[in-house]
Structure formats: structure tokens, C-alpha cells
Subunit: 337 residues, 2 copies
């Protein structure tokens, strides 16, 4: 009988099976899966980017009811989103899997298929990795990328007077998480599917981020992974400034609004604190706002909203309600502990 | 009262505390800890290397009685060893930590101190990472490195007629593991310390590997992590050849011999199957053996042993005993499942 679990199959046969799920390597890959190291070409006019993010069973997903292909896609997408938010293109994944021995081989192969599919979608390859035994399943990815020297975007450049902008809409992923955690909630099937898709298979904004980096004028950028309030906090902390956001201008997702109506949730809270939307949050001087919106319009259909302004650190971090009342911008976003 | 656990401290304060444990960044680091991505300079005349390896509680170490500083050093060293075995120099670490919320902050800080110390020892920096909640503690490192284009060493180039060589000695790490697993064993204190040091704080052979890569003529190289037999198997599998090893010429560590005598173990079995010695195992044509030994002699005191020969695949994989009797080269080495 064919081995059903990774414990029955063994480490090296498992690696062979996983490698078979990968697509054709990029032409810059000198040495890929099959050695202890990967070797790739670099270009002197590019900076090398590196990021990592992990999906841990019990913390980020539940093995029961998990779609492993979507898990692989999401693990890839959240890393791609970080490279995108730096203005870069993703190039090479290193995949570290921690697997309980009773994990089904099919399950692991599907994770890899999802990873390979999402990587290939954005021109990246899986060039190496590691499988290890452990009590808790985890998919830990490191993603390398590249960016032209002058186009690196970072979180610490926000300047007083900058406008604050965000792509797309926010809150749908949080709505999807609510439905995932509470499968008994009765909601319209189209809304359920859309909210779950936002949570389980987010689309990193690679082309949009590249357009912004090329256009120039973005002073700080980050992807919305921890939640709008928390990620704005990261920009503001790193830049030594304050921020003032108009609540009415936050692009709350229509799916989040619908689901919130059906299950008595708060869609603005989801947008502020839910996280995992993987939209681009950035700041730019007022005179660059129109050119940046035009640059975005040329690459892909993608809403863009101006939601506030960078102010002096002494002015604090404020959320201004439609009636003009200002409150502290909170919403802790996703905290790991 | 100061927060004692990572759950009490919180994610972002923890990251700040860990970043403070790091040393001064390399001059090629454009963007290090504190953003979602790291950005580093590259050189067009170098290949970029990447590897990853994880230490998982329960599988690779036990939290009870664990010295976290040594754990950090070892997690770093085993990755450095992989970059070294490719002929390269380690440059940048990305560190992903999975932590149960009740993990003590001191424990995590000590892991980072060990990691930073071992990295700095070999000229590498920690430039990024991630902390995440999870039921099982894991330290997952990705290490980048660089090698001149012509000096990349891989496992798949072994050629019939090549001699098989190995640096240092083998089996001490396995002896250390035995003592770790069976603390009741009574052995001489010096032997215990030496065996535990071999297991807990291995020294990657960076300078030796660089000397071999520069000298030229190495056809295949790997580090001994899974055990001599298994790692020879990796070279032979990848190269499509066979191998014949003289048991009497395997450099069994004197510490392994002493401990084996005291606890009735088999030091040759430890050398063949124990793994984690992190010595360099390589093959080279006969006329390159003397120049390679001379090149090694110039960088560091390090024994080197010629232990056998690469033969045709059809001749199999044999271990020849001192009496001339040949048996299949087995010793599965360390299997993760």
C-alpha cells in the first residue's frame, strides 16, 4: 500500500514528491531543490530583498477543515505582499515545513501545489527548503525579491503634510475570519464566499506597488497585514510623526458591510483592526497624489482612497468621526501574543 | 513587575528587545530589522546562496534543561555549515521564531544572543525575522551567503576515480546526544564536556571550505549533518556513481571512542550514522588530493582523512572492513520521520 503519512513515506522520498510539484525554475537559478543550498544569480543594479512569514496550525489556521492548497497559496501571498510593499518583485522562495509524522502526504503535496501556483503567478520560484518533524504543523516561508536601488520603499519616510492613501477596500478578510470561526452564522452564500476568499486567498498588490515605486514620490509604504490602525502605527512610529484619519473616508469593503449587517458585526472595526487585507497603505506629498493615482490606473483596476494626513508627532494619532469629533486611533490590529 | 513571558510582553516590544541583542550591521545592509523586509546590496560577480534549517522543541532539543544561548548558536552554526559546504561565506540571517506564549522573555533573548554571537563570528548579520505564536517552540533560520561564480561546490559532481575525503573526526556529536538522552550514564567529566560541546556547539568549517573552494579540484562537497553514510549517499545519489569506503580509515573521534568504551556504545556506528558532526565530506581526483591537503593546512589546524574512492554506480556502495570483507554501506543517518 502506498504510504499515506509523511512518517510512513520518510524525509527524502517526501522531498522528491514535493519537488515534483514545482514549476520550471527561473533562468537565474544555478542550483535549486536537491542540494542543501540554493544558488542564484544577482544583478549589481538591484537590491536584494528578504522577508519571512509563517503559518502555524492552531495560531493561523486549523488543520481540521483546512484546504491545504489555499494554505500554500496564502503562505506565499502574504510574503509576496511584503516584497511588493517594498516596491520589489518576488523572486525565490525557501520553504521550511514542520510536520507531525501523521500528516497525510496528500495534504503536504497540496500545500506545495498552492505555494508553487501562487509563486508562479508572480514570477517567483521555490528554490529550496527543509522538512522537519514537530508536534505542530507550520509552513515557514522566506521570500527573496529584488528592487532597483532608487525604488526601495520603506515604512520610515512619512513626512508632515503627506497624504495617507490606501488601495482597494478593507475589512473583508476580517469578515471571512469571523465566518471561519463561527461556521453557524447564517449569511448570504455569495457574501460568505467573497469574505472567505478575501481571508483565505488574498491577492498581493504586486503590480500596483511596482507602479507606485516606479512613479516616485511615495514617502512610506506598508501592506495592511496587522490592520489599518496598527500598520499606520508602524509607519508613524518608524517615521517619528503623527497622523489624522477621516473615518468616513476609510474604504470599508462592501462584503464586510453586508456580512456585518447579517451577523451584527462592526465593519469599521474590522477595517481598522481586522488585518490580513494585504492592501497597500502609503503616504505621499499632496502634489504627488494625482500622478500616483494615474500611475495606478495604468496597471490594474484598483480603487484608491485618500484617508487622511501625516501631522506632527505632537498632534498624536487621531481618528476623526463624520461629526468632526476626534478620538485616539486605536484598534490594536492583530497581535501575535 | 517586568513582563516575564512573551505573552505578557507582546509581539512588538519583544521584537525591540531581540533587535537590541544584535550586533552592528554589515555595511551592505540597506534596511535591516524593523521593517517587514530586509534590503541588502549584491555583487554581480557573486552568486547568492540560500539555505534554511530549523530547530524544533521535542524533535531537535528539549526545552527542559536547554541552554538557549547554545541553542541559538547551534541553529546558526548548522546553517553556516551548509553555506560553507557550498564553498561560500555566510552573510545575512532571517530568523523566524515560533513561541508558546508562556515562553520566558529571557529564554528568547538568550537564543538571540547565541544566534548573534555565532553569526558575528563568521561575519554574518541577522537582518530580519518574524515572531509568531504556536504550541511548539521552533527556531527556523534562513541564511543567505555568497560565493564567487567559479567556486560554487555542489553535491552532484562526484566522478569515478575521485578520492573521498573528510575533515576532522566523526562520532563525537552522536556521543554527546547519547549522553544528553541518558544523563545517568557515568563517564569521565572531560569526555562528557567534549562530547556535549560537539553536539551542542558544533563549529562550521567555513575557512576550510573556502580554502578548498579556492584551491579548486573538489568535484562534490557536502557537510556531515545526517551521518557519514547518509551524506555519502546524497553525493552518490546526486552524482550517479558508487562508492567504496575503508572502515579502518574513517576518522572516528577519540572522544567518541572514550565515551563508547564507558557506556558500551559503538563509535564506528556513531561515525557512520550519528550525524551532526558538521565536518566537510568531499571528493576530488587523485592528483588534486595533495594540493587540497596543502591548501587546508594553510588556513587552520584541521585533520583530513582519505577514506575511500568513488566507483561506478554498478559497483554499489560498500564499506570494506579491515579484513577485506565488504558489506553494504548502511547507517541510515538521521531521518526526520
Amino acid at each position: 500500500m502506498a504510504p499515506r503519512t509523511v512518517g510512513e513515506l520518510g524525509e527524502f522520498p517526501l522531498i522528491e514528491r514535493l519537488a515534483a510539484r514545482l514549476h520550471r525554475p527561473r533562468s537565474d537559478v544555478v542550483l535549486g531543490i536537491g542540494d542543501d543550498v540554493a544558488a542564484v544569480e544577482t544583478r549589481a543594479d538591484r537590491l536584494l530583498l528578504a522577508t519571512c512569514d509563517v503559518q502555524v496550525a492552531g495560531a493561523h489556521f486549523l488543520v481540521d477543515g483546512c484546504d491545504p492548497h489555499r494554505l500554500g497559496r496564502k503562505a506565499a501571498a502574504i510574503n509576496i505582499s511584503d516584497i511588493a510593499a517594498a516596491g520589489g518583485r518576488p523572486t525565490h522562495f525557501i520553504c521550511s515545513l514542520v510536520l507531525p509524522p501523521d500528516t497525510e502526504v496528500d495534504f503536504v503535496e497540496s500545500i506545495y501545489s498552492g505555494l508553487a501556483e501562487e509563486a508562479a503567478r508572480w514570477g517567483a520560484d521555490v528554490v529550496g527548503g527543509n522538512v522537519s518533524k514537530g508536534d505542530t504543523l507550520a509552513v515557514d516561508l522566506t521570500l527573496l525579491g529584488e528592487v532597483a536601488r532608487g525604488e526601495l520603499l520603506r515604512r520610515d519616510g512619512a513626512t508632515v503634510g503627506d497624504r495617507v492613501l490606501v488601495t482597494g477596500s478593507l475589512g473583508a478578510a476580517a469578515a471571512g475570519l469571523q465566518l471561519k470561526l463561527n461556521p453557524g452564522h447564517r449569511v448570504d452564500e455569495r457574501h460568505r464566499r467573497a469574505a472567505l476568499a478575501a481571508f483565505e486567498t488574498p491577492t498581493p498588490r504586486v503590480e500596483q506597488a511596482r507602479a507606485l515605486a516606479r512613479a516616485g514620490g511615495v514617502n512610506a509604504m506598508i501592506d495592511v497585514s496587522d490592520g489599518l490602525a496598527a500598520d499606520l502605527g508602524h509607519i508613524v512610529d518608524a517615521s517619528g510623526v503623527g497622523v489624522r484619519i477621516d473615518a468616513a473616508r476609510i474604504p470599508v469593503s462592501s462584503v464586510a458591510r453586508e456580512v456585518a449587517r447579517e451577523i451584527a458585526g462592526d465593519p469599521l472595526a474590522w477595517a481598522l483592526a481586522g488585518g490580513e487585507d494585504y492592501e497597500l497603505l502609503f503616504t505621499a506629498p499632496p502634489q504627488r497624489v494625482v500622478p500616483l493615482i494615474e500611475a495606478l490606473g495604468e496597471v490594474a483596476e484598483c480603487a484608491i482612497s485618500e484617508i487622511g494626513e501625516i501631522v506632527a508627532a505632537s498632534a498624536g494619532r487621531l481618528l476623526v468621526a463624520p461629526d468632526g469629533e476626534a478620538s485616539p486611533l486605536s484598534g490594536d490590529g492583530w497581535r501575535h501574543f
